[in-house]
Amino acid sequence: MTRIHDMGGRFGDGPVPREDDESRTFAKDWHGRALALTVAAGALGKWNIDASRHVKECLPPADYARFGYYEKWLAGLANLLVEHGIASPEEIATGRSDAPAPDDLAARRLDAARVKTALRSGGPSARDSSDGPAFALGAQVRTSAIAGNRMQNGGHTRLPAYAAGRVGTVVLHHGAHVFPDSNAHFNGEAPQHLYTVSFAAGDLWQHAESPHDEVRLDLWEGYLEPA
């Protein structure tokens, strides 16, 4: 099993909710503040994007389901701050700092003048690899029978449950990319070749809408075996 966030294919959610006013980038002012705070805290470099995804996935399912999108971000940020020793539970509870951060961490603060450059450069995940790809375009591959992190029980993974144990065709090769299953747990970037794999809708769903439809996923080599 994976976790509450792994909802692809799930039944029961009803129509897609549409905003009344789509002209606003942030429906509420605090949404923008939550996003900015999360981005700026991430720039401190204490965690990576995979860890930041995983901490949201690890919210109790009841909280994950009831929280709005940016509420999940805030909960994730609070938990990361405590997990990485930046803030104590007491500080989270009182909303005040008991002590300044160490100088080396404070030196990494994202200042306003650096914002555009930092966001414009981003954080590419492609890495050089001395190993060639195991699969060629057009190869038939089977995904792992179980969608789950192989190294860490309950750990982060990017193979959705709905595509586990299915046969598809490699349609794109993206070179080697940081492997989230390792990186989310600070066990190194461990880059692996990344592919786009195409699955016939009828191979994923009991009642596919059309036999001609397909779903494509980006999957790391470690999730795949020859089929």
């Binding site: 966030h5 909802m7 692809g8 799930r10 959610d13 129509p15 897609v16 909710p17 789509e22 980038t25 509420k28 605090w30 939550a34 996003l35 900015a36 981005v39 700026a40 690890c58 109790p60 509420e71 805030l74 940020l77 609070a78 938990n79 701050l81 405590v82 997990e83 930046i86 007491e90 989270i92 509870a93 909303g95 005040r96 700092s97 300044p100 200042d111 914002v115 555009k116 966001l119 450069s121 981003g122 954080g123 995940s125 492609a126 029980n153 309950g154 193979l159 959705p160 794109l172 993206h174 990319h177 990344l194 786009t196 809408e209 001609h212 439809d213 397909e214 494509r216 980006d218 999957l219």
Partner: protein, 248 residues
Amino acid sequence: MDSGRFDFTDLCILNRSSTTCFRANTGRWTGARKPAQDDAMPHDHHDDNPHSLLPSEPALRVKALETILVEKGLIDPAALDAIIDLYERDIGPQIGAGLVARAWNDPEFRTTLLTDADRVITELGHGGRQGEHVVVVENTPDTHNLVVCTLCSCYPWPLLGIPPGWYKSDSYRARAVREPRTVLAEFGVTLAEGTAVRVWDSTAEIRYLVLPMRPDGTEGLDETALARLVTRDSMIGTGLPHSAGTTA
């Protein structure tokens, strides 16, 4: 109400190993054990974990976390303003629309965009966070592309801005892969018979942008006029471009 403070009836009792708070909104006590270093599942956050200590009102949760980090010298409040400003004013669907319009008018550019989007995007200065690796996928009479992220909310920020709420909703994430045609119908999109749906589930750091089909009757339009026909949803796949002469 002063948004910089907690609800006055919230009360927290702190001691060496735990924190317990009374939450006025729920009438319940919540506790937070200090996380032990030897927890077998250090990433699992149950009811007694830090996020449950935050105030009940989301705007106050933001304020609490911002205050802590500013006081620690880790956050520059002006940087938060700058980030919000960037995504409210500079970065949005108009950037993607410019690429689409140019591709409609310039066959060579279109070919490069479809085969090496990263090069085009870097050259035009449109790279950045959540758009480090981009693949542009083309709609044709045979194939309609639809982009989703079932596991979270991956989206090409530098080309389309911050994703709309519906893109991040459970319903869209759950259903776009299993019943894309039903979802498309909710968005008012009906495909021609014989058009297959190709759903892209953004499970890695590759971000997808749909190149919609150029509307009929737009042969004489320049890039600026064409860009006005390109909607955000048409670049996600949940919409089609405006028809010629019907720019919203």
